[in-house]
């Protein structure tokens, strides 16, 4: 279990991490989500003992990272943003080095083979890391974090720069690791945390702005549902009719589309699914709907919605925690 209490990290006047607290239970996969420069990497560095905090405390399974760094570090496997690889070594040599570095006591050959197998490195185990592609290097980085079977595994942006197939593989691997490890994952890609994590902690400007179960965040996302609609019909009339439906916040014309249709952006009140209503309306007026799709909220919009609910606009209802 990881317990972070009132963590602050200042660089001069600038607070990279400003009083964040949360705890992570055993076996949880937690996504640490935030835009670039939000303080994700700083928090991860503090968690792994690479950086000290200005104030606050971090305990890992009851061991304080500051008081007993060696004991705490034994419980952590860390994959930094840039995998720390010695390019002149082969994969196997490198993993052997990490094995020695971590004073691992498990059976050497069996342990390393098992890890290579798990991250699918076996067929490149004897190649020099310099000659591996980005995706394979990332896997070597993950393998390195797994050595010694640490209870907690921390990944800092593990899928950046990989191709889509590799991204899927790495996400599957992380899900799989979540079965017997506690995993913390930082990313700025929302779908990634939605796919992989049980819980999402959103951080912005060094503060936690949301800390929710993944389903709950999805409700926040679903709560402000926008759809893009293409209807063949008289523009003004359609627009007014849709606006007349109950629960519609706004309906604006985006532009002319194929088959003399018009595209509209429609947004409804939180938690309301308007698609049936719109269909029935258009059907009754004999305006054929030729396209209707949900517009997913991107990370920025979620930030706006989460930050909003913490006081500034209060347009979207939902959520509890936030910055103090």
């Amino acid at each position: 279990m990881i317990e972070i209490k009132n963590l602050v990290k200042r660089y001069g006047d600038f607070a990279a991490v400003n009083d964040i607290s949360f705890s992570i239970q055993d076996g949880e996969i937690v996504g640490f989500l935030g835009p670039n420069g939000a303080g994700k990497t700083t928090t991860m560095s503090i968690l792994t003992g690479c950086l000290s905090m200005t104030s606050g405390s971090v305990t890992i399974n009851g061991v304080d990272i500051f008081d007993e760094p060696l004991e705490a570090k034994k419980q952590i496997g860390y994959l930094p943003e840039f995998p720390p690889l010695y390019l002149e070594m082969t994969v196997r040599e490198y993993l052997n080095f990490v094995y020695d570095l971590k004073n691992c006591t498990l059976d050497r050959a069996a342990h390393i083979n098992e890890i290579c197998d798990r991250v699918k490195l076996t067929h490149v185990a004897n190649r020099i890391i310099r000659n591996l592609s980005k995706g394979y290097r990332q896997r070597v980085g993950i393998a390195q974090a797994l050595i010694g079977n640490p209870k907690v595994i921390i990944f800092d942006e593990p899928t950046v720069g990989l191709d889509p197939k590799q991204i899927i593989e790495i996400r599957t691997l992380i899900r799989d690791l979540g079965k017997d490890h506690t995993v913390i994952l930082s990313t700025h890609i929302l779908p990634e945390v939605q796919m992989v994590c049980d819980r999402i902690v959103i951080i912005n400007r060094g503060k936690i702005v949301a800390d929710e179960k993944t389903e709950d965040i999805e409700k926040v996302v679903a709560g402000s549902r926008q759809i893009q609609l293409k209807v063949c019909g008289p523009q003004k009339e359609v627009q007014n009719a849709i606006k007349g439906l109950s629960g519609i916040k706004y309906c604006e014309v985006i532009g002319e589309r194929e088959m003399q249709s018009t595209a509209f952006l429609v947004e409804s009140e939180a938690g309301l699914d308007m698609r049936k209503g719109i269909f029935n309306l258009c059907a009754s007026r004999a305006w054929p709907i030729i396209g209707m799709e949900a517009v997913g909220l991107n990370l920025e919009e979620i930030f706006i919605s989460v930050v909003d609910e913490n006081g500034q606009g209060g347009k979207k209802k939902k959520g509890k925690k936030g910055d103090k």
Binding site: Y11, S45, T48, G49, C50, L51, S52, P69, L70, E71, K73, K74, I76, Y78, P80, F82, P84, L85, Y86, L87, E88, F97, V98, D100, L101, K102, N103, Q144
Partner: protein, 237 residues
């Protein structure tokens, strides 16, 4: 600690730098040896050989130390060492001992120079001065390597690390040369305390000078200590 030591030793021999060091070190020591003894009339005096070896350290030792931390930083492998369950002290010591071992390898091979010396020496060479000089050189090399370790921890550029180390070593070696032109007696005395060359001369004439030995060892410890502090401080910054 052993893991880092082994990796450093291995990387000396899997990259050109280990071989370049050995080649330059042996070539320089060979040239110095023949110029100071074989081609001189007085073949039984070897003190000049050791003095020039000491001066040559300022070129060869930075070759060993420049990559130690600078390269870790450039390759971003530092986080691996820092997040591993080992103390910063043992990380610094492992790297120091790796460079020191490389030096000892080169230094032992260079001892072959002494074979022709004993063969050609007229009269009885003074064993005490030779042993004293060898001890002094090893201790001074340890101190200089510690300086190199520290400078390497300050930069991620190997060239900067090498040049910075050379400058600091040069100061320690050159103090005694400027010392003779300093008026103030007080300043001169203080400077001669920290002058590596002056202290070495005592050992080199065969006087087993404890204060010189303690000085070299403490020089080495202080710089390693500062290196550990640099890493601690980086965590705090």
């Amino acid at each position: 600690m052993l893991a880092i030591y082994k990796r450093e030793m291995r990387s000396y021999f899997t990259s050109p730098i280990g071989y370049i060091f050995l080649a330059i070190f042996l070539a320089v020591s060979g040239v110095i040896f023949s110029l100071t003894t074989l081609t001189q009339g007085n073949a039984s005096d070897i003190t000049m050989y050791f003095t020039y070896m000491l001066i040559s350290f300022f070129v060869v030792l930075p070759l060993l130390t420049m990559k130690l931390f600078a390269d870790e930083k450039r390759q971003r492998t530092e986080t691996l060492l820092i997040s591993a369950p080992i103390s910063i002290t043992s990380m610094v010591c492992a790297k120091f001992f790796a460079a020191f071992s490389m030096f000892l390898i080169g230094f032992s091979v260079s001892l072959l120079n002494l074979i022709p010396f004993f063969y050609f020496a007229s009269g009885n060479p003074d064993l005490k001065t030779i042993l004293g000089s060898l001890l002094g050189l090893v201790l001074i090399a340890a101190a200089f390597i510690a300086i190199g370790v520290m400078v390497s921890a300050l930069t991620e550029n190997q060239l900067v690390a090498a040049l910075g180390t050379m400058m600091i070593i040069l100061v320690f070696v050159m103090i005694s040369i400027f010392n003779s032109s300093i008026e103030s007696y007080f300043l001169r005395t203080v400077l001669s305390w920290i002058s590596v060359l002056d202290r070495f001369t005592l050992l080199a004439v065969g006087r087993f000078d404890i204060s010189a030995i303690v000085y070299f060892i403490s020089l080495c410890f202080s710089f390693l200590f500062v290196t550990v502090r640099i890493y601690e401080k980086r965590r705090w910054a």
